[in-house]
């Protein structure tokens, strides 16, 4: 679960990190009130779950109260990478020239089977850009998941990164960030920029915080932060069925299968067949008729989908169960797009008999995934041309 900047800051504050204070506002008038209360220049920052807010014009320095109001009017309601901004964070502006900007972050790193701490004196820009242009400017350090980052390690990393300022205070902030990452099951936490004030004190100006979905059961206090409006409506519906569903851009073939690997490969096969997958949908193991029915219903709701490719493999999956689910969707009038499927499993003969009984051109079974994908791709591409 991705957190907004203000939520990430709230967590870091709970762990004792010195963060740049701010208040959330939903209207330009609220922004005006906050700016007046602060009585100094402020920054109005869009709160959306995407990177590159600044470049998109979603972060604006506002030297006066009127300017803050004006900027809020611009930012609230704006679209950043497909997401509408409906709240902003108003923070006191700092004099960037009076200090320096660094970067510190922690990320789950499968290569070291733990978190890797990253630190760089090149703060204030996206770390991916630093990594691409000057990777040597990022210091990496494996964090022990049991002990967490210890102060001496933090000091060593800060020294290697070339951080100037109060070394003990900077290290202390890194240790607290590590504690927050481990105790709050972060997948990613970043403090960027990490601002070092003229007196050497570190201050977190901006943060990114993402929590492991598998661990949400022990962070129930954060569940109210989950924002469904930031997700695709079909993704919300899929979550209710317990499906792993990802909506993909510019696709025309709905793809569903049982298992992440097989669905990922199905996407590749659809691409290879000359069409574009409109979604990733893993229905999980034990493909019962009802599950298949729900999956077909879900994918059918996507207006981008012109044909559906079903790819099921399993020694214990019954092909007739899959067929039954698809037929039910057809009988209820939910299924209006061609379904091209490949089901490797038991009871394939029974499945064929059921389909022969229905005898609908909308549902066809194929002996392998390539033929099924090609048929679906052809149907989808033809549907596009006939429009």
């Amino acid at each position: 679960m991705k957190l907004h900047e203000y939520q990430g800051k709230e967590i870091l504050r709970q762990f004792g990190v010195n963060v740049q204070d701010g208040k959330v506002a939903y209207t330009p008038d609220e922004v005006r009130t906050i700016a007046r209360e602060y009585g100094q220049p402020v920054v109005v920052k869009a709160q959306v779950h995407v990177g590159g807010r600044g470049k998109a014009g979603g972060v604006k320095f506002s030297p006066t109260i009127d300017k803050a109001h004006e900027n809020a009017e611009k930012i609230l309601g704006m679209d950043i990478k497909g997401l509408t901004v409906n709240k902003v964070l108003v923070t006191k502006a700092v004099d960037i020239d009076a200090g320096v900007e660094y970067y510190v972050g922690m990320i789950v790193d499968r290569n070291v089977q733990s978190f890797t701490l990253m630190a760089s004196a090149e703060g204030g820009v996206e770390i991916e850009e630093v990594a691409a242009a000057t990777p040597e400017k990022i210091i990496r350090h494996r964090v022990d998941p049991v002990t967490g980052l210890r102060p001496y390690e933090a000091r060593e990393v800060a020294i290697k990164a070339g951080f100037k300022g109060n070394l003990n205070k900077i290290a202390d902030m890194m240790v607290k960030m590590s504690k927050a990452a481990l105790e709050r099951d972060a997948v990613l936490v970043e403090i960027n920029p990490l601002f070092i004030e003229a007196d050497g004190t570190p201050l977190a100006l901006d943060t990114k915080f993402e929590i492991d979905d598998n661990a949400m059961y022990r962070h129930k206090d954060l569940l109210s932060w989950r924002e469904t409006e930031a997700e695709h409506p079909l993704e919300i519906e899929a979550a209710k069925y317990g499906f792993a569903y990802v909506k993909l851009d510019d696709g025309n073939v709905g793809v569903l299968g049982n298992g992440a690997g097989i669905v990922m490969t199905s996407l590749d096969v659809v691409n290879r067949a000359g069409a574009k997958p409109a979604n990733f949908l893993d229905i999980g193991g034990g493909a019962k008729a009802e599950i298949v029915y729900n999956a077909v219903k879900l994918v059918s709701k996507d207006s981008d989908v012109k044909a559906i490719f079903i790819n099921i493999f399993g020694g214990i999956t019954r092909a007739d169960e899959v067929a039954k689910g698809v037929i039910q969707a057809l009988n209820e009038g939910i299924l209006t797009k061609p379904v091209r499927m490949r089901i490797a499993g038991t009871a394939e003969t029974e499945a064929k008999a059921l389909l022969a009984e229905v005898n609908s051109p909308l549902i066809q079974m194929y002996p392998d995934m390539f033929q099924a994908a090609e048929a679906a791709a052809q149907d989808a591409n033809n549907a596009g041309e006939n429009k």
Partner: protein, 301 residues
């Protein structure tokens, strides 16, 4: 011969009396696996389909020879179950559970590695964790400690298979079987970001196995396990290896079901993996069936 498990491997099932545990215990025994006992805290002293149930792994180990344990425990208790088996001295621990918090796995994997090291220092067998979020492992015709369909692995073959994905493991196994090649041992290492055993950990075992002629590696986007495997192959392996990479058309930054399959910046891209395998002289199949053609080619060299 085969790697890691064979017809003499004695197995306990942790979580045997749960729905998944019970179903798969049955299937494993049908395959021929020597399941000797189950563990369900609170149900010690009962029996399940003729097998004794113990309250703890330690109790099971003190009453039976235990070579491996397979864990069907819900996510919140899964890492603890791994450590219970590891501390009880079970040398091979297979975690099937999907959805275990990553931080739990980091801690468990680190502790298992420390135990492994300590055990080997003392001349012991060590401890190996496979998974989580994996289908387990199977030596064809001998022993299954996992959840894969039995029929694909009835006949022994001479191809080793290692995979990050469950269903693709079965798919590849079926293709190898249909082509008359068959598998020696199949290891599903799991799709999570932090797992106990990687490709590079399994490759040396196949290299040393006299009954494996070639190895198929089924990778996917995300992480750098495939790159590490390519590096190992390049420097250490004489046996031919064929690779496949799933999710090559997936967009960056999106999590495709497997938490491990996510491209972050330039790390984990298909291009990086293809380049690494090319550098190691490992042919990469564009489609699953092409795996068979490539395996036949490398065997004929």
């Amino acid at each position: 011969m085969s790697i890691l498990v064979n017809k003499d491997t004695h197995v306990i099932v942790v979580g045997m009396t749960g729905r998944e545990g019970a179903n798969h215990t049955k299937a494993m025994r049908e395959f021929g696996t020597q399941v000797v006992a189950g563990v369900t805290p609170g149900k010690g002293g009962q029996t399940h389909e003729g097998l004794p149930i113990y309250n703890s792994v330690a109790e099971a180990v003190s009453n039976h020879q235990v070579d491996a344990s397979i864990i069907f425990v819900p996510p919140a208790g899964a890492a603890d179950a791994v450590l219970e088996s590891a501390h009880a001295g079970v040398p091979l621990v297979i975690l099937i559970t999907e959805g275990v918090p990553t931080v739990d796995m980091m801690k468990a994997v680190q502790e298992v590695k420390a135990l492994d090291h300590a055990s080997r220092e003392e001349g012991g067998k060590g401890v190996r964790l496979i998974g989580g979020n994996c289908p387990g492992l199977i030596s064809s015709g001998e022993c299954k400690i996992g959840i894969m369909p039995n029929s694909i692995y009835a006949e022994k073959g001479r191809i080793g298979l290692i995979s990050r994905s469950g269903t693709l493991t079965y798919e590849a196994g079926k293709l190898l079987q249909n082509a008359g090649l068959g598998t020696s041992t199949t290891v599903g290492i799991g799709g999570d970001p932090v797992i106990g055993t990687t490709f590079a950990d399994v490759l040396p075992l196949f290299e040393a196995d006299p009954d494996t002629d070639a190895i198929v590696v089924i990778g996917e986007i995300g992480g750098a396990d495939e790159e590490a495997a390519a590096e190992y192959i390049k420097n250490n392996m004489k046996k031919p290896v064929v690779a496949f990479i799933s999710g090559r058309s997936a967009p960056a930054g999106k999590r495709m079901g497997h938490a491990g399959a996510i491209i972050m910046g330039n790390v984990g891209t298909p291009e990086s993996k293809l380049a690494a395998f090319k550098d190691a002289n490992v042919p990469v199949a564009d489609t699953m069936p092409e795996i068979i053609e490539l395996v036949k080619q490398v065997l004929n060299k």
